[in-house]
C-alpha cells in the first residue's frame, strides 16, 4: 500500500551472483515491479513499470486490471533479461501486492468487468455506514479484526455487484471471479481462462472483511449481510505453498509459491518471526505491524487485527497493524505546497540547522486522525507559533510529527498486546533520513534498526516462496540472512521526552472537532 518516494533508487542490474534465484513480483499501488533475489537475499535485478491512476470522481481511485497484468508480464521478462538468466535458473515465484484493491472478472474470457477499485477509493463510505446498521463500524470487528471502513474489499465487491448492470446475476451463476491483486496475478500467471487457479492467501483474505480470523475461512454470516455470493470468492490458501506453475512468459514452468499483502510481506522480509517483533515501513504513508504470535489479539485502541502470515500447514501467525496516513507525503507537502525545500531529502538539512522545534508542533491530520484516534472531524494544525519560530523549526516539527505518530501506535500496541517493543525494524525510502530515525529512537526510547535490504516487501515474498520450494530450509536460515545496516539508540533525556509528548498530545487535541457537520 505504500510506495517509496523520490528518495529511493534501486540497482538496475548486477552480475556478481550465481543461481539459483527467486523472482518476486511486487504489484504495488503506483507500479508493478519484479525483483530477482539470490540465496543471500541480495538483489540481482529489478524492473519496474508504473500504471495509470484513474480518478473518475473526487475520492474515486481505479486501476485498469488488464494494464496491470500486462505490466507484470513485461517487468518479469525485463528483470529476467537484466539478470542475464533464464527461467530454468528461477526456483520459485513469489507474489506481493497492494492490499484490498478489488477486481471482478469474467472467468471465461479473463476480461475485467470494471476497473479495479483501489484501496484508497472512498466510494463505499456510505455503504459501510449502512452495513454498520445499529451496531456501527465495529459490527464485524470480532470476526474480522477490522472496522467497517472504505479500504476493505468486501464492501467494494458489493458496490460493483450493485452498480454494474447485470453483474449480480452473472456472479450468482458462477460466471464471475473476485480477486485482490494477488489472485488476479496468480490466476493469469497460471493460465487465466485456460486452467488458471483461483486462490488468495490468508493475509490478503484478512483484508476483505469477509474472512473469519479464527477459522481462516469465508464467514457465511458476513457474506449474507453484505449480499456477496460465495461463488465469486477464491480459495483461501497459506502464504507459502505451491499454488500452481507459470503457464507462459520468461518463467514458464516455474512454481508460483507465495502470496502476501505488501505490509505482511515486509514483516516477513524483516524476519519478524517472533512474538513482539515489529517493523515500520516509512513511505508516503507508514505502516507498523507487530507479530502477536499464534492467537489474534483484539484491539481496543483503534488498531487492526490481521493475519501476519501462514507457512504451509503450520499454525497461522497474527499481527496488530497501525497506520499513519501522512508521513512521506508531509515532506512532499513541505516541498510542493509550502516550497520550503527543493527535495524531500533537504528537510533534514533545514531541520538540522536548529537544535529543537522552537516550541512548534505540526499535526498533519490532512484527512482526519487515524489510529489510535479515528477522528474524521480532525484537520491539521501548526501549534505553538511565536515570533521566534523559523521555517527550520517547522521542518523539525514535521520530522517529529512522524516520530510521535509512531510512538502513539507503539503505545496502542503495547496496551492491546501486553508486549513491550524491544526494537523497531524500519524500511522504506524515509530511512535515509538520519535525523528522523534518531528522533524516532528518541521518542520511542528504544533502538531503531535498519536492515541491509531496503526492499523488505519484495524480499518477504521471495522468502516465503523460497521456503515453500525448499530453497531455504526454515525461518532460521532467513534470520541468518538478515543484516543490520544501521542502528539508532535513544539519546533524549526522559524529562524532555515526557514534556515533548505532552505538548504533542496537546497539539493533537487542537485538531479535533474542526469539521462540524461531518455527515
Amino acid at each position: 500500500m505504500t510506495d517509496t518516494q523520490d528518495y529511493a533508487s534501486t540497482p538496475g542490474a548486477a552480475s556478481h551472483s550465481h543461481g539459483p534465484f527467486i523472482a518476486s513480483m511486487d504489484q504495488g499501488t503506483t507500479s508493478s515491479r519484479c525483483i530477482v533475489f539470490d540465496r543471500d537475499g541480495s538483489i540481482v535485478a529489478v524492473d519496474q513499470k508504473e500504471h495509470e491512476q484513474i480518478f473518475p470522481k473526487p475520492g474515486w481511485v481505479e486501476h485498469d486490471g488488464a494494464e496491470i497484468w500486462a505490466n507484470v508480464q513485461e517487468v518479469t521478462d525485463g528483470a529476467i533479461a537484466k539478470a542475464g538468466i533464464t527461467g530454468a535458473d528461477v526456483k520459485a515465484i513469489g507474489i506481493t501486492n497492494q492490499r484490498e484493491t478489488t477486481l471482478l472478472w469474467d472467468r471465461k474470457t479473463g476480461e475485467p468487468v470494471h476497473n479495479a477499485l483501489v484501496w484508497q477509493d472512498t466510494r463505499t463510505d456510505a455503504l459501510c455506514k449502512e452495513l454498520g446498521r445499529n451496531v456501527g463500524p465495529d459490527r464485524f470487528r470480532r470476526e474480522t479484526g477490522l472496522p467497517l471502513a472504505s479500504y476493505f474489499a468486501g464492501p467494494k465487491i458489493r458496490w460493483l455487484l450493485d452498480n454494474v448492470a447485470g453483474l449480480r446475476a452473472r456472479a450468482e451463476a458462477g460466471e464471475i471471479l473476485f480477486g485482490t491483486m494477488d489472485s488476479w496475478v496468480i490466476w493469469n500467471l497460471t493460465g487465466g481462462p485456460d486452467g488458471g487457479v483461483h486462490v488468495t492467501d490468508v493475509t490478503n483474505a484478512s483484508r476483505t472483511m469477509l474472512m473469519n480470523l479464527s477459522t481462516l475461512d469465508w464467514d457465511e454470516r458476513i457474506l449474507a449481510s453484505m449480499e456477496i455470493p460465495a461463488a465469486v470468492l477464491p480459495e483461501i490458501r497459506s502464504s507459502a505453498e505451491v499454488y500452481g506453475t507459470a503457464a507462459g512468459g520468461a518463467l514458464a514452468g516455474v512454481p508460483v509459491a507465495s502470496a502476501l499483502g505488501d505490509q505482511q510481506a515486509a514483516l516477513f522480509g524483516q524476519t519478524c518471526f517472533a512474538k513482539g517483533e515489529a517493523k515500520s515501513t516509512y513511505g508516503t504513508g507508514s505502516f507498523l505491524l507487530m507479530n502477536t504470535g499464534s492467537a489474534p489479539v483484539n484491539s481496543y485502541n483503534g488498531l487492526l487485527t490481521t493475519v501476519g502470515y501462514r507457512i504451509g500447514d503450520q499454525a497461522p501467525v497474527y499481527a496488530l497493524e497501525g497506520s499513519i496516513a501522512v508521513t512521506g507525503s508531509l515532506m512532499q507537502w513541505m516541498r510542493d505546497q509550502m516550497g520550503l525545500i527543493n527535495s524531500a531529502a533537504e528537510i533534514e538539512t533545514l531541520a538540522s540547522s536548529v537544535e529543537d522545534n522552537g516550541g512548534a508542533y505540526v499535526v498533519p491530520a490532512f484527512s482526519g486522525l487515524f489510529a489510535p484516534y479515528w477522528r474524521a472531524d480532525a484537520r491539521g494544525v501548526i501549534a505553538g507559533l511565536t515570533r521566534y519560530v523559523t521555517k527550520a523549526h517547522i521542518a523539525r516539527a514535521v520530522l517529529e510529527a512522524t516520530a510521535w505518530q509512531t510512538r502513539e501506535i507503539v503505545d496502542a500496541m503495547t496496551k492491546d498486546s501486553g508486549v513491550e517493543l524491544t526494537a523497531l525494524k524500519v524500511d522504506g525510502g524515509m530511512t535515509s533520513n538520519n535525523l528522523l530515525m534518531q528522533t524516532i529512537s528518541d521518542v520511542l526510547d528504544a533502538p531503531v534498526v535498519r536492515p541491509m535490504v531496503a526492499e523488505a516487501t519484495a524480499l518477504g515474498a521471495a522468502y516465503a516462496a523460497g521456503l515453500a520450494v525448499g530453497f531455504w530450509p526454515d525461518t532460521d536460515a532467513l534470520r541468518a540472512n538478515w543484516r543490520r545496516a544501521a542502528e539508532w539508540t535513544p539519546r533524549m533525556e526522559a524529562d524532555v521526552r515526557d514534556r515533548e509528548y505532552k505538548n504533542w498530545l496537546k497539539a493533537v487535541e487542537r485538531t479535533m472537532g474542526w469539521i462540524e457537520d461531518e455527515e
Binding site: 533508487s9 531529502a345 538539512t349 543484516r483 545496516a485
Partner: protein
Amino acid sequence: MARTIQSLERAVAMLRLLAGGERRLGLSDIASSLDLAKGTAHGILRTLQQEGFVEQDPASGRYQLGAELLRLGNSYLDVHELRARALVWADDLARSSGESVYLGVLHQQGVLIVHHVFRPDDSRQVLDVGAMQPLHSTALGKVLSAYNPVAHTEAVEGERTAFTPRTVTGAADFEGVLDLIRARGWAADVEETWDGVASVAAPIHDRRRMPVGAVGVTGAVERVCPEGSLRPELIAAVRDCARAVSRDLGAGRF
C-alpha cells in the same frame, strides 16, 4: 555600443578572479589585480558577500567563492540528497565486501561522515554519521584532496599530523600521493590514520563532473590488506559503488 553598468562588470571580474587559480585572495590582492581603489573593491565584495556569492574566511580575512554560486549553477548537492541516492549502493558494497562503508564530504578542514553502513556481521557497532575525519591521512580525505580543489587547498595549507609512523606528512610526498590517486582513480589508507585499520575510497561525481564526495570501505588491515597488498576485488567493488552513485546523480558513464 549599448551602455553597461560598471559596478556589475567589476563584480563579475571579481568572481572570475576568485574562480581562477588562487582560490582565496585578500582585499589588497583583489583591488590591485583589478586596478580598483580598496574602498571600491571592498564595497563590491561586501555586496557579493551579502548575497552569498563570496565568503570571507574569518581567520585570514581572505575572500573565496560562496556556496550560493554553487546553488545557482544547480550543481549544489544537499548531503542528505547524496545519502538518499547512495543508500542502496552503499548497502550493496557493505554486503559484497563484508566491511563497513562510509560516505564523506568536505566540511571545513576535514571529511564529514554523512552516511555509514555497518559491517554485515552481528557485532555491536555505533553509527558514525556526523563524525569528522582528517583530510590528509584517510582514504576518503585523500580522494577529496585529489579531486576537489578546495579540499586540496585545505589539505596542503593545513597541518598534516603524523597519526602513525606511516602517515605521509611532507608537502612533496603528499602531492605525489595525490597524483597517484588521480592516475588510479582511488585512494587507500593502510594504517596511516589508525593502527590496524585500512580503507579504500573512490570519488563520487555529480552530473557536472564536480567531485561531491567520496565513498569507501574500512576494516581490519588483516582483511582489507592481507599480506601487505590491498584486495583487488575490494578496490573494484568500491569503484563500482562510486560509479553507481555518480550515475544516479546524473554523471555520465566513465
